[in-house]
């Protein structure tokens, strides 16, 4: 294969070198995919040193995240969809409407251009759906073997009427989870070559702002978190610790797909400790809980939303699990996500 051909079908060192080839990568492959490229001021098209933003009234919220998922393409999504959703969801669970995003790509030399196009298309779809502008970006290429394919960094900016912290729970608040837990982690596990498991499971990766917005419209939301790494167990423990309350949850009420339950038994990995990428854990004042739940259930992403427990005064900082069989124990903070490289 000639070097010229290589550079047309695969990423080469020159694509990250700031010259002609990089310009073509930007103008032909990256920019045209994104319809919203500025937020009221200097945006992506200016190829300036940074973006300037005009934000609507409210409290600006910013978040950043880097993504190294393996495999890059998995059942239900890919690293691009994951990066865009992950960043938008972090804003959403802060109570902020996502408005703008930056995109940093670090690509291994030799990475297929067609794969990069698929990834960019996924990102563009998510941003388009949320009406989020891509306002700045960066591309770097690393040598063959210096990186495993691609890593993506995204920073998101949004505006909240009132930021929702993890720490806002009071005793009595009701805990809602917006859908079945563990899908993402187990879908990735079953997709990995070294495990040769067959399953129809898909990642739950999705942008949850439209769902979260419904809960916020009803009101009474006191705390919110997306149960990504460490899953529901980590999210609940963090909320309990930061809010200085106990959280009591009923295992039997936590939605878990049969397929996830089966894999969990097979692999000895609890579905409560495995990442979700399209769910939120929401604390709601008791008088609004029923209303918030029905608002969530009206949205396709929230059909299986469920009340799983409540905040209590006893055992501050701890999560108490009423086990499915009727016993009681602490649900501890997981040591780490049992599945590596999930996001």
């Amino acid at each position: 294969m000639s070097p010229k051909r290589l550079s047309e079908e695969h990423i080469s060192a020159l694509h990250g070198a700031g010259g002609e080839l990089m310009g073509r990568l930007l103008s032909e492959h990256i920019l045209p995919r994104f319809s919203l490229r500025s937020l009221g001021s200097i945006g992506l098209d200016a190829l300036d040193d940074g973006a300037a933003l005009k934000l609507p009234p409210g409290v600006p919220v910013i978040t950043t995240d880097s993504h190294v998922v393996k495999p890059i393409f998995f059942p239900g999504g890919d690293i691009g969809r994951l990066a865009a959703c992950g960043t938008a969801n972090d804003l959403a669970v802060m109570g902020a409407r996502p408005l703008a995003m930056t995109l940093g790509l670090i690509i291994e030399e030799g990475f297929p251009l067609s794969d990069l196009e698929r990834i960019l298309t996924s990102i563009a779809e998510v941003l388009e759906g949320l009406r989020v502008a891509l306002v700045a970006g960066d591309t770097k290429v690393m040598g063959k073997g210096e990186l495993d394919g691609i890593a993506i960094n995204t920073t998101g900016i949004g505006v909240a009427a009132r930021p929702i912290p993890d720490a806002g729970l009071s005793p009595g608040d009701v805990i809602i989870v917006t859908g079945p837990v563990g899908d993402h982690g187990f879908a990735l596990l079953s997709a990995r070559e070294d495990l040769s498991l067959e399953s129809n499971l898909s990642s739950d990766v999705a942008a949850i702002w439209p769902l979260v917005a419904r809960a916020l419209e009803v009101g009474g939301v006191t705390a919110m978190k997306d149960p990504t790494r460490g899953g529901l167990a980590a999210a609940l423990n963090e909320m309990a610790r930061k809010s200085h309350v106990g959280i009591e949850v009923e295992e039997a009420k936590i939605p878990v797909r049969d397929e996830v339950r089966g894999l969990s038994e097979l692999l000895g990995i609890s579905p409560l400790e495995v990442a979700c990428e399209g769910r939120a854990v929401i604390g709601v004042a008791p008088d609004r809980a029923a209303q918030v739940l029905s608002a969530l259930r009206e949205h396709p992403l929230g059909r299986e939303a469920a009340i799983i427990g409540r905040a209590i005064e006893r055992y501050p900082g701890k999560v108490i699990l009423d086990t499915g069989v009727g016993g009681r124990r602490f649900l501890e903070m997981p040591l780490g996500d049992p599945v590596p490289r999930i996001c």
Binding site: A252, D258, R261, G262, E265, I320, L321, D322, T323, G324, V325, G326, G327, R328, R329, F330, L331, E332, L335
Partner: protein, 363 residues
Amino acid sequence: MSPDLFSFRDPKRAREFAQLLSRLAPARPVKIVHVCGTHEITITEHGLRSFLPEGVEVLEGPGCPVCVTSTVDLDVAVKLAQEGVILCTFGDMMRVPGTELSLEEARAQGADVRTVLSAADAVEVARKNPAREVVFFAVGFETTAPGTAAVLLDTPPANFSVFSSHKLIPPALSALMELPQIEIDAFLAPGHVSTIIGSDAYRPVAERYHVPVVVGGFEPLDVLYALALILRQLKEGRAEVENAYVRAVLPQGNTRAQELLSQAFEVSDARWRGIGTIPGSGLAIREEFSRFDAAKKFGVEGELGEETVPGCLCADILVARAVPTDCPLFGKICTPLSPVGPCMVGSEGACSVWYRYGGRPRL
């Protein structure tokens, strides 16, 4: 997932068992000891201690094979590794402290220590490395020992040998009954081990010490059922062997596996961390297989170092004299990421299970 498995987790039946347990519980404190890491996981993960009537406690004894492996044996394994053999063992053994080093630390200093999932995997390592000596550091109770026996009987390659630290459960139950300052009212016997040795294997213990022994399975209702049989025996003043895991355990056990064991091994004394030497509780490789016996092949001996660190309650936890939360180090300076004692290292150790699954005496 088969609905059968989850039918052993039915909350309605569990509540009925809880009521039965309260009706059967004698009006005095009762200490039931099990000797199986998997039982501890079932009990803790499903929060079964909250079903126990006031005064009834169920504790893990020496049920984690990794935890009870003595420094004497560990030091032999470390020395073998340092002398240049490829040492193969189960992953959980890597971080168990020896007198000076753990196997993980020996590996960090250049020794070739590899984790395997079975004795057969270790034989595979030997076949792939014909120019190197490969030693399988064999730990485990009657459940894992037949796997080691099978490779010894199957003429492994000449560069393969076994360092046996295999242990037997019934002598450990007797040893616990002989210990001072511990009153054990009954044993919940391990289902896995019992599939091999059979429920009849506990008759001598039950008769000699007049203590009920009930074999239990590993789903929540299996355990609750076994506990109910134990409390009924105590209430009626009986001390017998009963089998609450009939779907897996026969009175005579797995005679084929027992044959393998007696062909490859002979019963020997063995040292248990936290307990000391228990007569007739180990499995030594028979003379006719001595060319595969690493202890004889390399003539290495271990030394008896400190088996627990000051402040660490492992020695008491391993004999069911204490529970993990009694230990001042538990969850503070001793966690699965930086374990102080063996009960936190082995994934079946009481401290590791309580840490991961939020175990407490009662919630």
